[in-house]
Amino acid sequence: MAQPDSMATQRLRRLLLHPWSLGVAGIAVLLGLWTLVAGLGVVDPLFLPTPAAVVAAGQEEAASGDLWRDISASVLRVLGGFGLSALVALPLGIAMGTNTTFCRLLEPLLALLRYMPAPAFIPLLIIYFGLGELPKVLLIFIGTLFFNTLMIMDAVKFVPRELLETTRTLGGKKRDLLLRVITPYIAPQVLDAFRINMAAAWNLVIVAELVAAESGLGKHITLAQRFLRTDQIFLGLIVIGLIGLLIDLGFRMLMRRSCAWAT
C-alpha cells in the first residue's frame, strides 16, 4: 500500500509538472513584486496603487455597474468590427487563394493597405462618420480585414494539389472542392488566424476609445487619467488583459473541439 506521505508528494509533483504551473508562477512573481514595492511605500501610491486598492476599485466599479457597461461596450465593438471583417475576409481570401486573376489583382493592393497603420485612419473616420459607433467598428474592420484575408488566402494556397485532384477523380465538381475539401482543410488555420488577429482588434478598440468615446474600457482609462485615479487605470489594463486572455483561450478550445484532427 502506498504511504499517504508519498501520495501527497506525488500530487505535488504532478502539480509542479503541469504545463501551466510555470506560467502561473510567472504571474505570481509579478504580483508578489508589485505587492512588495507598493507595500514598502518607496513609490508614491499615486503612481503605484497597491493590489488591494485596485481590487477595491474593481469592486466599486462592478457595484455601480460602470465596469460591466464599459466591458460590454468594448466587447460589442470588437464583435461587430471583427465579425464583419471575418465575414468579408472568408470569401475574399478563398477567392484569392483559388483564382489567380483575383490574387494578382488584389494582392498588391492588400499588401499596400496592410502597411497603413489602422489608427492613422481614425481622423478620416471621424470626419466621415462622426463620433458614434460606426467609426469604431469600421476601424476594427479596416485594421483586421487585410490580415485576415491574406492569412486565409495563404491557407487556401497550401491545400495539397493531390487532395484537390483526388476529389476531381472521384467525380467532385468545383462546388465540392470548395465546400467539402478546401473549407474543412483550412478551418484550423482560419481559426488560428482569427485568434491572432483578434488581438489586433482588441488593441484597436481601446485606441479608438482613447481618442473619442462615451463608454468602453479605453474611455474608462482616459477618464481615470483625468482624475489621477491610477488604481482605475490599473483596473482597466488588467481587465483588458484578462478579456484578451479569455478570447484566446476560447479560440483554442473551439479549435480543439472542432478541428481535433489538426491538433
Partner: protein, 255 residues
C-alpha cells in the same frame, strides 16, 4: 475496358521556354490487365498518368477509354497518389465513403459499400480511425479502397508505395498483387522501382527521359505464385539487371 493512347504528345510552356515532356506515346490496355510504366525522374510518367486521369490535356494525339475520348477527370478512373492521399479530417470509413457521397448514392448503400471495400483492403477494424492514426501503408490501402469503392473501370496508381519503408513496400506489393488477382481489376501503375514493375505487371513500358518516350516494352510471363520466391529467383534477377542496365544507359545518353 479498353484504353487507347495514340501518338500522345505533351508540351509545357510556350515559345523558347517550351519543353516537350511526352513524345509520341502510343499504347493500349485491356480489361484485367496490369500495366506498368517504368522510368526515372524526367521521363514524364506522372504527366502521362495525369493525362489518362484527365487532369491534363494532351498537346496533340488522342486518349480514349472504351471508344470515348478522355475529356476530364471522372470516377471511372480511380486514382491514388503517393502523398496527401487521404482527407485528414475524415475517418478511414468517411474517406472511403467520400466518393460515394459525391455520386449521390443512398445512405444504406454507401455504408454497405464502404464496409465491403474496407474489408477488401483488410482495414474494417480501423474504420473509425483518422488518417494520422494509421501507418503509411494503411493510409495507402484506405486510398485504394476509396478509389475502388467508386467501382472504376481502371485503377491509376502514381508511385503509390514510393513514400513507404522498404519492408512495408514489399508487403504492399504483395497486397496489390493479391488484390489484382482476386478482383480482376485493370491497373495502370507508375513507378521508378524496377522490382515493383517486374513483379506486379504483365506488361512493362520503359520510358526514356527528356522527352518522355517509350523505348522498350516487355511482356512478362513469370510464375507469380509466390512473389517472395520470385523476387530472389535467378531468372527474375537476370531480368532485373537487364532492365537496370537499360535505365542506366538511358540516363547516361542524356545531353
Amino acid at each position: 475496358m479498353n484504353l487507347v493512347l495514340d501518338s500522345v504528345c505533351k508540351r509545357f510552356g510556350d515559345g523558347r521556354a517550351a519543353q516537350l515532356v511526352l513524345d509520341q506515346i502510343s499504347l493500349t490496355m485491356h480489361t484485367g490487365q496490369f500495366l506498368a510504366l517504368l522510368g526515372s525522374s524526367g521521363s514524364g510518367k506522372s504527366t502521362l498518368m495525369r493525362l489518362v486521369a484527365g487532369l491534363e490535356k494532351p498537346t496533340s494525339g488522342s486518349l480514349s477509354l472504351d471508344g470515348q475520348p478522355i475529356r476530364g477527370p471522372g470516377s471511372d478512373r480511380g486514382m491514388v497518389f503517393q502523398k496527401y492521399s487521404l482527407y485528414p479530417w475524415l475517418t478511414a470509413a468517411e474517406n472511403v465513403a467520400f466518393g460515394l457521397e459525391l455520386k449521390g448514392l443512398e445512405r444504406g448503400q454507401i455504408r454497405e459499400r464502404t464496409a465491403f471495400y474496407l474489408e477488401v483492403v483488410g482495414l474494417l477494424d480501423s474504420a473509425k480511425r483518422l488518417p494520422r492514426e494509421l501507418s503509411g501503408g494503411m493510409q495507402q490501402r484506405v486510398a485504394i479502397a476509396r478509389a475502388l469503392a467508386a467501382e472504376p473501370r481502371l485503377l491509376l496508381l502514381d508511385e503509390p508505395f514510393g513514400a513507404l519503408d522498404l519492408q512495408i513496400r514489399e508487403s504492399m506489393q504483395e497486397f496489390l498483387h493479391n488484390l489484382w488477382r482476386s478482383t480482376g481489376l485493370s491497373v495502370l501503375l507508375i513507378t521508378h522501382d524496377i522490382d515493383e514493375a517486374l513483379l506486379l505487371a504483365q506488361r512493362v513500358h520503359i520510358l526514356a527521359p527528356r522527352p518522355g518516350r517509350i523505348v522498350q516494352s516487355l511482356s512478362l510471363d513469370l510464375d507469380k505464385g509466390d512473389l517472395h520466391e520470385l523476387r530472389i529467383s535467378t531468372p527474375f534477377q537476370t531480368l532485373r539487371h537487364q532492365v537496370a542496365d537499360t535505365l542506366r544507359q538511358l540516363d547516361r545518353d542524356l545531353p
